[in-house]
């Protein structure tokens, strides 16, 4: 047995264990944990090929499992704190106030209203690089406005997800591009224009495709469907937490060497505290905190288990096998398959996919004379589209959770997203294929 056979067998064991877990109605995260444990056992038991290998003691195997669970610890903290902030704001009545105001002001101007909503959704992800943060901070607010505009549930959920994905891809911060560029020792320079063109086009197309048409809003009915706003709310109170958020994040950009590094978790907690200070009513902090943790259990659980699974895949050579399989494909095949490979791999591995596939692909494209900046920008817009795909489906799950979606995840929400997704993937593929020609035009 060679190392290729070993890694292939471990991969099969992982897939089988995951499938068995799902068959026995285990949750996705527990099925993935079963896959990781079975893969680890298979790696320890199966022959590893002709070359000598270091022994793997049981304690070290346990260490790998535990170490992997911390891979996305910072992302989990961001999810928890951002959701707590928005849940507190919602509970205090801030969301209801803003939604009512937007509906009242823009109910007869659908075009302007949609443009505003695109802007509101793009901003948090563009600043933080996280689609989940966009959904968790403003997703429910924008979803409420879309509801008032008469956008039906599947389309509403699909649009929030697609806008969140495009917000994560939107410059200045695109974590996939930054991580891959860092791995390839490229400066994160020249990405803004191609990323902006791709992500903003994608966001606008999604918005007008999914919510451009609709009946005129029946103002009285829409307002009567929305929750009442507690006495005392006004624009100053409603705007303050978001202004504070923008100020704290912006200060780190504008005076990076004169302002302390707070980190997003602390920034969100400070904003949550500001909600308590400005709210005319006292929201139930402890209940909101426990509800937040309870609601995010699945999302955080999956990030924890994905980390462990990736560590086991790396340990056993499965990660290398998958990566090798991608980069050894002929270039023409890559052109016709990356639109599928990249979102699927994002669904499997999250941000880890950027150094895993991004770095070898940069090297490959550079070697073949294609422009690595434009190409990486195109991949970095394709990747977040996979955030609604299993096993992780982080942004998709967050969207469904935030909007209280009641339909079928795949046949409803994901299917509705397919046309805008295909349009974005096609545009990105064209950018990738014609990257050399485009580099002169948009400064890659």
């Amino acid at each position: 047995m060679t190392m290729f056979h070993h890694s292939l067998l471990v991969l099969m064991v992982i897939v089988l264990a995951f499938s068995a877990g799902k068959k026995f109605s285990l949750t996705t995260e527990l099925s993935m944990l079963a896959g990781a444990l079975a893969g680890l056992a298979a790696h320890m038991i199966l022959p590893k090929g002709a070359d000598p290998r270091s022994p793997l003691l049981l304690a070290e195997a346990v260490r790998h499992l535990v170490e992997g669970t911390f891979t996305y610890f910072d992302v989990c903290l961001i999810f928890l704190t951002a959701t707590f902030f928005m849940a507190l704001y919602k509970e205090a009545g801030g969301v209801a106030f803003i939604v009512r105001k937007i509906v009242r002001t823009f109910h007869s101007r659908r075009f302007v209203c949609l443009l505003l909503l695109v802007l509101v959704m793009l901003a948090p992800g563009a600043i933080t690089g996280s689609g989940a943060t966009a959904v968790l901070t403003v997703g429910s607010l924008v979803g409420s406005v879309l509801l008032a505009m008469g956008v039906e549930e599947d389309r509403r959920t699909a649009l929030i997800f697609l806008l969140a994905a495009m917000s994560a891809a939107c410059p200045p911060i695109n974590l996939w591009a930054m991580m891959a560029a860092a791995g390839a020792n490229m400066p994160y320079v020249g990405f803004a224009a191609p990323l902006a063109v791709l992500s903003i086009s994608g966001a606008l197309f999604s918005a007008f495709w999914l919510a451009g048409k609709g009946k005129p809003v029946d103002l009285e009915k829409a307002l009567s469907d929305l929750p009442e706003v507690p006495e005392g709310w006004n624009w100053y109170r409603a705007g303050f937490p978001f202004l504070l958020l923008a100020a704290l994040v912006g200060a780190g950009r504008i005076i990076p060497h004169g302002f302390p590094v707070l980190g997003l978790p602390l920034i969100f907690m400070i904003c949550a505290l500001s909600v308590l200070l400005i709210s005319p009513v006292r929201p139930p902090v402890f209940r909101v905190a426990t509800d937040t943790v309870h609601n995010l259990q699945g999302l955080v659980g999956i990030m924890v288990v994905v980390g462990a699974l990736i560590q086991i895949m790396t340990l056993s050579g499965v990660r290398g096998l998958l990566s090798l399989a991608v980069v050894t494909l002929p270039l023409t095949v890559l052109f016709f398959s990356l639109w599928l490979i990249l979102p699927i791999s994002e669904g499997m591995l999250q941000y880890a996919v950027a150094p895993l596939f991004g770095v070898p692909l940069i090297m490959l494209f550079n070697m073949k004379g294609l422009d690595p900046v434009i190409s990486l920008a195109a991949w970095s817009v394709m990747w977040p589209l996979g955030d609604c795909l299993p096993p992780t489906a982080v942004v998709g799950r967050a969207t469904v959770m935030e909007l209280g979606y009641t339909g079928d995840y795949f046949r409803g929400f994901v299917r509705t997203s397919l046309v805008p997704m295909a349009a974005i993937l096609l545009l990105c593929s064209l950018f990738m294929v014609y990257s050399s020609e485009l580099s002169g035009v948009i400064g890659g």
Binding site: M3, H43, E60, H64, F70, M179, T314
Partner: protein, 387 residues
């Protein structure tokens, strides 16, 4: 079994796993690497002797100074910038344990980003330690991460804006000691570390600075000397001499890109009068396409998946079934440094740095590394230090 009992059992198992892993993490973080300095040591300082920016921090590294007493130049050797590149600190330590300066001064830091060596890289499935066989037993080092541990430097900003250029870099690079040069005294840990090292370079009036690294074979900057434009003649001649006289796989020479900030080869040259060099050698363990991840791969440099990528012409360095063993990688770094000094001495004789006691390429290839590391238990206590 009731659901309560099942939950209790699962909790116990999870707690047991956490306890086992916790003990191993603790062992890794607290392991002290012994260094037996050569008998010609002049002084062992701390990085904080040059700047308070790292005082009482985990990165207050040992600074080993070997002064011949004969006027000449000063060379600074930096190891351990990226502790997932073990040959970098082993090459530095070959100098620390064997050097006899005949003219000028040599200053060695074995582990400049010590924090990054106190834990491995999450998701990469690295071993915690690596070992080298010696005539007196097995010598052990900590294997580490590319960047400082979040236990020592956290949180990261959403985007790292380099000082002073203002260039945007990935957020984790604020913990990367080869993206934070020239540093700043009130920055985060890696920035403070690089600032202190810059102060050392400036105060010791260093003429030559070498930063040892390793790179994946998929990476274009491979088996090469990256040099600040000030060092072009020396690096070009050194690369020609090494390729024609010593190495089976050629070593190249590249200029430090002016647009890429934070790297030692760019910023040290720009912010001091020293000429900055960075040496790269192939390490298959760093390739994302590698197969099984273990200490064997780290030390032997043999990997069938990486070889397969080579067959598809996806690599910038050759690899066959002999791999890239650690002693060969170390031999290349040590010999590269000695050849750079040789050329430097020819071109600037008034700043000559002449070193003796360092094993040649042939010595290291024939004997391995082990015999150039002394037994700390059998050495005089005043010569044993811990990194």
């Amino acid at each position: 079994m009731t659901i309560r009992t099942a939950k209790a059992v699962i909790l116990l198992i999870a707690g047991g796993c956490a306890a086992v892993a916790g003990l191993l993490f603790k062992e890794h973080r607290e392991y002290r690497e012994a260094v037996v300095v050569s008998p010609y040591i002049t002084e062992v300082k701390k990085l904080s002797d040059y700047s308070d920016s790292v005082k009482d921090s985990v990165n207050d590294a040992n600074v080993y100074i070997f002064d011949s007493g004969v006027p000449g130049g000063t060379a600074v050797l930096i190891g351990g910038t990226h502790p997932e590149e073990p040959v970098a600190n082993m090459s530095a330590q070959i100098f620390t344990e064997n050097v006899k300066p005949l003219q000028g001064k040599v200053i060695v830091i074995n582990r400049i980003n010590r924090s990054a060596s106190l834990g491995t890289r999450m998701g990469e499935a690295y071993p915690r330690f690596y070992h080298v066989k010696t005539p007196w037993g097995t010598k052990k080092w900590r294997y580490g991460d590319r960047v400082a541990s979040p236990l020592d430097s956290w949180p990261d900003p959403e985007v790292y804006i380099h000082y002073p250029s203002g260039q945007n870099l990935a957020y984790m690079d604020i913990r990367n000691a080869n993206r934070t040069w020239p540093g700043r005294p009130d920055g985060l840990l890696a920035e403070r570390t690089c600032f202190a090292a810059m102060e050392l370079i400036r105060k010791e009036k260093a003429d030559v600075v070498m930063d040892f690294h390793e790179a994946e074979l998929e990476y274009a900057v491979e088996n090469t000397i990256v040099v600040h434009e000030k060092g072009q003649p020396v690096a070009a001649m050194a690369s020609m001499m090494l390729t024609s006289q010593s190495f089976d796989v050629p070593i190249g020479m590249e200029f430090s890109p002016k647009a890429l900030h934070g790297l030692s080869h760019r910023e040290i040259g720009d912010h001091s009068h020293a000429v900055s060099y960075l040496a790269e050698v192939a390490e298959p363990m760093l390739d994302r396409i590698r197969g099984i991840t273990d200490e064997e791969l780290l030390m032997s440099g043999k990997d069938r998946f990486v070889m397969k990528a080579g067959e598809h012409k996806l690599l910038y360095a050759p690899i066959d079934e002999n791999g890239w063993p650690a002693h060969k990688r170390t031999a290349r770094h040590v010999t590269t440094m000695m050849t750079i000094l040789q050329v430097h001495n020819m071109l600037t004789p008034d700043k000559a740095i002449i070193l003796d006691g360092i094993p040649s390429y042939g010595d290291l290839m024939d004997n391995g590394m082990g015999q150039y590391f002394a037994d700390p238990d059998a050495s005089p206590a005043e010569r044993v230090f811990f990194d």
